[in-house]
């Protein structure tokens, strides 16, 4: 199992560890529910160094990215961040990624840990002679500071005025004397920042440890908590964000996943374009849905979704929402289910009442980055 550079820091905080995508990761430090609520009400700090990063640079960088990614990279300005998908030739999702434009001809792709090797091969196969593609996953530490008080914790530590850093924008800055790349982004539905410390030796991550400790100390009075994968999964699910391997797979297209905004047909040719156009005209066989339990019980991956007694779909990920105190899930179902439709989920052999709902599952006026 691969060890996070900050493994020692996690152990000393009493983290319960779990294997995820070949990495030994903190599942929780104290309690998933408490860490989850810290992210929704104050701020949480995640070590997500398992995520993969590729650097793409050179005069051919844009052409390469336009070919392998479904979103329009040409629309990305320097310091911009864009959500995108890498598709196979059938239009299925090989990975969902964030593409950061760091310089005119330099991009950072952040991908899922589980897909690093696969993308390595895929990018090599589709490489552009004028683009240098480098897997920098092993030497990159990635931290995520997430929650309504993330800015408050971060601002005193940096010189840059954070009100000037908009959502999906990045910059380069320094915390405790450590240079880093930082974007206003995240995977929780909340306001937050993702920090990248490049060229960090995994065996002696002095700079990363310094930043980790500085952030925890700076957040003390705001109720900051180190957060594990448990809270990462529950917060992303509550926000209605897809997880690769669950909502997104090579057999699912962005249209079915209802993340159409990552597909820009008008930009011209890209891998997967033709099958997606075809799917668009023929129609979808199944689409992603959100549901909330009306009865007790927690929907889980693989559980059947029923309408009027007939099976119409399946749960891909579900949990108990610590905020709503109810079971929530995402899954795939035949098109036609509408928000408010009464359905049921088979849990431990019993059909339990649920309702089709929109994501985010929480009230966006009260939680998440658009809260009032």
């Amino acid at each position: 199992m691969k060890q996070l550079p900050l493994a020692h820091a996690h152990r000393s905080l009493g983290a319960q560890l779990v294997e995820f995508a070949g990495w030994e990761m903190p599942l929780k430090y104290v309690s998933v529910a408490e860490e989850h609520l810290a992210v929704r009400r104050a701020v949480g700090l995640f070590d997500v160094s398992h995520m993969g990063e590729f650097s793409v640079r050179g005069p051919g960088a844009i052409d390469f990215l336009q070919h392998v990614a479904s979103n329009d990279v040409a629309k990305l300005t320097v310091w911009g961040v864009q959500y995108s998908t890498i598709l196979n030739e059938r239009g299925g999702i090989m990975d969902d990624v964030l593409i950061h434009r760091r310089r005119e001809q330099e991009f950072i792709i952040v991908c899922n840990a589980i897909n690093v090797e696969k993308l390595n091969g895929w990018f090599a196969q589709h490489r552009d002679e004028e683009a240098i593609i480098k897997d920098i996953s092993k030497t990159t530490v990635m931290l995520a500071l997430q929650g309504p008080k993330a800015r408050q914790v971060l601002q005193p530590l940096i010189k840059f005025d954070l009100t000037q850093l908009k959502r999906y924008k990045a910059t380069e800055t320094e915390i405790a004397g450590v240079r880093m790349f930082m974007s206003r982004s995240g995977y929780t539905g909340e306001d937050g920042f993702e920090l990248f410390i490049f060229d960090e030796p995994t065996t002696n991550p002095v700079r990363a440890e310094k930043v980790w400790k500085t952030l925890l100390r700076a957040g003390k009075d705001t109720g900051i908590r180190p957060c594990g994968l448990g809270a990462r999964d529950t917060t992303r699910l509550e926000a209605g964000l897809c997880l690769y391997g669950k909502e997104l797979t090579e057999e699912i297209t962005p249209l079915e996943a209802r993340i159409d905004f990552v597909v820009k047909f008008e930009k011209g040719e890209f891998i997967g374009r033709a099958p997606l156009l075809e799917q668009k005209s023929v129609g979808l066989k199944h689409v992603r849905v959100g549901l909330r339990m009306a009865e007790v019980g927690v929907p889980r991956q693989g559980y059947g979704i029923f309408k009027e007694g007939k099976k119409v779909g399946m749960v891909t990920s579900g949990t108990f929402s610590p905020l709503l105190k109810a079971g929530i899930a995402m899954g795939y179902a035949k098109p036609g289910l509408k928000v408010g439709n009464q359905i049921s989920v088979e849990i431990h052999g019993k059909k339990r009442a649920a309702e089709i709902v929109n994501w985010p599952f929480y009230d966006p006026a009260r939680y998440g980055r658009s809260r009032r």
Partner: protein
């Protein structure tokens, strides 16, 4: 958490991390402190039906050995009966307050009361507090 957590003397323990407290001819059953800490925040407990006949847990595991299921945020785990017998009573408090499994695994968080059918023989399959503490140490 380090080690087995709290392991009260006088109870019997199963490999599946259930505890048994003998109360006359009946046996009260719950999950151990170690088990609840591994499960994490318990959000829902599926209780067995009163009158259900259960068998003492053994390999391979089967439905007839289950005394319900404990759902945490992350996962669902079946609760396996540490003894054979009949379910006489279930803990009604768990319906409203499943978190009692976390906060009071040996008291308020009990799962059910069994009328054992082969108590003397089956108790020999279970561990005492020291035995269970050693057993958990080996798992860690």
């Amino acid at each position: 958490m380090v080690g087995a957590g709290e392991v009260p003397e006088g109870l019997y323990y199963s490999r599946e991390h259930e505890w048994v407290k003998i109360e006359g001819k009946l046996a009260r059953v719950g999950v151990t402190d170690y088990a609840q800490s591994k499960l994490g925040d318990v959000v829902y407990v599926e209780l067995p039906e009163v009158g259900k006949q259960v068998k003492q847990a053994a390999e391979p595991k089967g439905k007839e050995m289950e005394i319900g299921a404990v759902e945490s945020i992350k996962a669902v785990s079946a609760a396996y009966s540490p003894l054979s017998g009949t379910v006489k009573e279930v803990n009604p408090s768990l319906q409203e307050r499943p978190e009692l499994i976390n906060t009071s695994p040996y008291n308020e968080g009990w799962i059910c009361v069994l009328e054992p059918s082969a108590l003397e023989v089956e108790l020999k399959q279970l561990m005492d507090a020291k035995g269970y503490t050693d057993y958990v140490k080996k798992l860690e």
